[in-house]
């Protein structure tokens, strides 16, 4: 992977002919799309359109559901992530994920952030502390929690918990961050903070975000993909999708005629 990295390909992900089935039901149909480096890619679409499934395929989390079957390729920096030589644990250190509901561990704030580095073998206390501080700073949470790093993470507010989850994800030094409706459980102020955070993370990370809120997609993303019934209907720069979509279905959806 490291060699491919040096080539500085523009596309982090190249999805080719991806199909996915839950048992007999096909959830993704022949998806082809590239996800570009250091950009925010929003994925929108009505409930059940496969957008969450798609994003969970990018770090193979979807395989935790036993009945899932896939065909096609997802190239991550040129390597097919479904290849037998790819270790899923390694892929997930490069591709972090933030979930819909904040899901910190019932441990201290500090232990939450350093969970990833610790399980990947870092034992040096000073180094762990440095990782914790820089991750929390990047997640815009350091000032709020620096005096109570040993308190339980569940004492934080929902928005803080979600930023903690982002910090926890940053601590393993990923290169992509997948976000599955990260603000749907949060109030508008907490949502605003997360959106600001996404803006600032963009220069260092490639971000792909599933969202139900079209305003959010319009506000924070560079590119937008519209999914419907498991198909990728349209994928273009966000300004085109929201001002001049080529497909009638995209237009219907973003103008609120259905969904």
């Amino acid at each position: 992977m490291s060699i491919a990295n040096e080539k500085k390909k523009e596309a982090v992900y190249d999805v080719r002919g991806l199909n996915l089935w839950y048992g007999e039901d096909q959830a993704l149909k022949d998806i082809n799309m590239e996800i570009e480096e250091n950009k925010v890619t929003a994925i929108i679409g009505p409930s059940g359109c496969g957008k969450s499934t798609f994003i969970k395929t990018l770090n193979r989390m979807v395989e935790n559901i036993p009945i899932v079957r896939t065909t096609g390729e997802i190239l991550y920096h040129g390597d097919n992530i479904f290849d037998k030589s790819v270790k899923v644990e390694e892929l997930r250190t490069k591709v972090g994920m933030v979930f819909q509901k904040p899901n910190p561990f019932p441990k201290s704030i500090f232990e939450n952030v350093v969970y990833g580095p610790k399980i990947h073998g870092i034992k040096d206390k000073g180094l762990l502390m440095e990782i914790a501080e820089s991750s929390l700073r990047s997640a815009a949470l350091w000032d709020e929690v620096k005096d109570r790093l040993n308190d339980n993470a569940y004492g934080l507010s929902g928005g803080q918990q979600q930023r903690l989850c982002i910090a926890r994800c940053l601590a393993v030094q990923p290169d992509v961050i997948l976000m599955d409706e990260p603000t749907s459980a949060l109030d508008p102020i907490a949502t605003f903070k997360i959106e600001e955070l996404i803006e600032s993370l963009k220069k260092d990370y490639t971000i792909s975000i599933v969202t139900h809120s079209m305003q959010q997609a319009a506000r924070i993303s560079d590119k937008t993909a519209f999914f419907l019934m498991g198909e990728l209907i349209e994928y273009d720069s966000t300004s085109v999708i929201f001002s001049n979509p080529k497909d009638k279905k995209t237009e219907d959806y973003i103008t609120g005629r259905f969904g």
């Binding site: 997930r92 979930f99 899901n103 019932p106 399980i119 259905f258």
Partner: protein, 314 residues
């Protein structure tokens, strides 16, 4: 479902069609409501009565036993060896025997039980075989203890030639409570929310790391609670030990797991049987019951305290 984005048309047509739907008119039956309010009050009293009934029975039992043991239960009773003179008899041997028994039962059931539960909940593919095993473990939990005694007698006592040693008794007791520990641990593990596992996997953790660092710490209070309750059952169980032929009269206090031993419930059993010969044995049995109840009470309280203290909210 919808096709090709035409859902809009179909959905809005359905909406229009259903818009005029009205609830049929009906009157609330006032007389029936009166009856139902009465029924509600009546059932409340019925339920509290059954709770009181259980408490009263327990109270009578406790009163009976404690009053019979009065004057007999003292420190000497705990530290003296068996004697043919009731005034000098004590339960030192039985106490030590019970402690030894637990030294076998606790590690064996915890290790085997928790491992089995982890396998069934986290590793086994939820297919037919795993289901078959699960159903059978649940069934095993309701097998009468005397059957486990027979199993222990033939497997540990005869085939492995362990006789009526502490090891044979301990392994038999472990088998008896193992299903309870497995089921309790399974439930505790299943109660760990999936989103915590997801968080761990998404950070690149493998299964064992996730189980060790996330699932087990969260499930531990539940596992401990279930295990303590199971182990306290093992302390009080009599039938399997009787079947194994555990003696009541041992002149030698056990010093290792291959020695013969006796245990508290056995002691109670034989003293109760012999009251015809020596009436004071009834008092000794009662005093032993109080000791056993005390041990069970302490263990159950520990289970409750652990559950309350470590219960995590999400």
């Amino acid at each position: 479902m919808f096709k090709d984005g035409n859902l809009i048309g179909k959905d809005s047509r359905m909406l229009k069609k259903n818009a005029g739907a009205k609830l049929p008119k009906f009157n609330i039956n006032k007389k029936r409501m009166k009856n139902r309010i009465f029924l509600s009050r009546f059932s409340r009293h019925l339920f509290s009565l059954s709770a009181v009934f259980a408490l009263v029975v327990l109270g009578i039992l406790l009163f009976d036993i404690i009053s019979e043991s009065l004057g007999w239960l003292n420190v000497k009773f705990l530290t003296n060896n068996l004697s043919i003179f009731p005034e000098k008899a004590g339960i030192r041997g039985a106490l030590i025997g019970s402690v030894y028994l637990m030294l076998i039962v606790i590690p064996v059931t915890l290790v085997l039980g928790v491992s089995t539960a982890i396998y069934l909940e986290e590793y086994s593919n939820k297919g037919k075989i795993a289901n078959f095993i699960k159903v059978n473990i649940t069934n095993l939990a309701s097998v009468p203890s005397v059957i486990f005694g027979l199993l222990g007698l033939s497997v540990f006592g005869r085939i492995l030639n362990l006789g009526s040693s502490i090891l044979a008794g301990g392994l038999t007791m472990s088998l008896l409570v193992l299903p309870i520990v497995v089921v309790a641990s399974q439930e505790a593990i299943r109660a760990v929310p999936g989103f915590l596992r997801d968080a761990s996997y998404a950070l690149g953790a493998n299964k064992w790391t996730t189980v060790r660092k996330v699932v087990l710490p969260v499930a531990l209070p539940g596992i401990l609670t279930g295990s303590i309750l199971a182990i306290s059952r093992a302390i009080g169980e009599t039938a399997p030990l009787v079947v194994l032929g555990i003696p009541t009269l041992i002149l030698k206090i056990p010093t290792g797991i291959m020695d013969d031993f006796t245990a508290l419930p056995i002691q109670i059993y034989y003293w109760t049987l012999d009251t015809v010969l020596t009436p004071e044995y009834a008092n000794l049995a009662a005093a032993t019951i109080v000791v056993l109840l005390g041990v069970l009470f302490i263990m159950n309280s520990a289970a409750i305290i652990i559950r309350n203290k470590f219960q995590k909210k999400f």
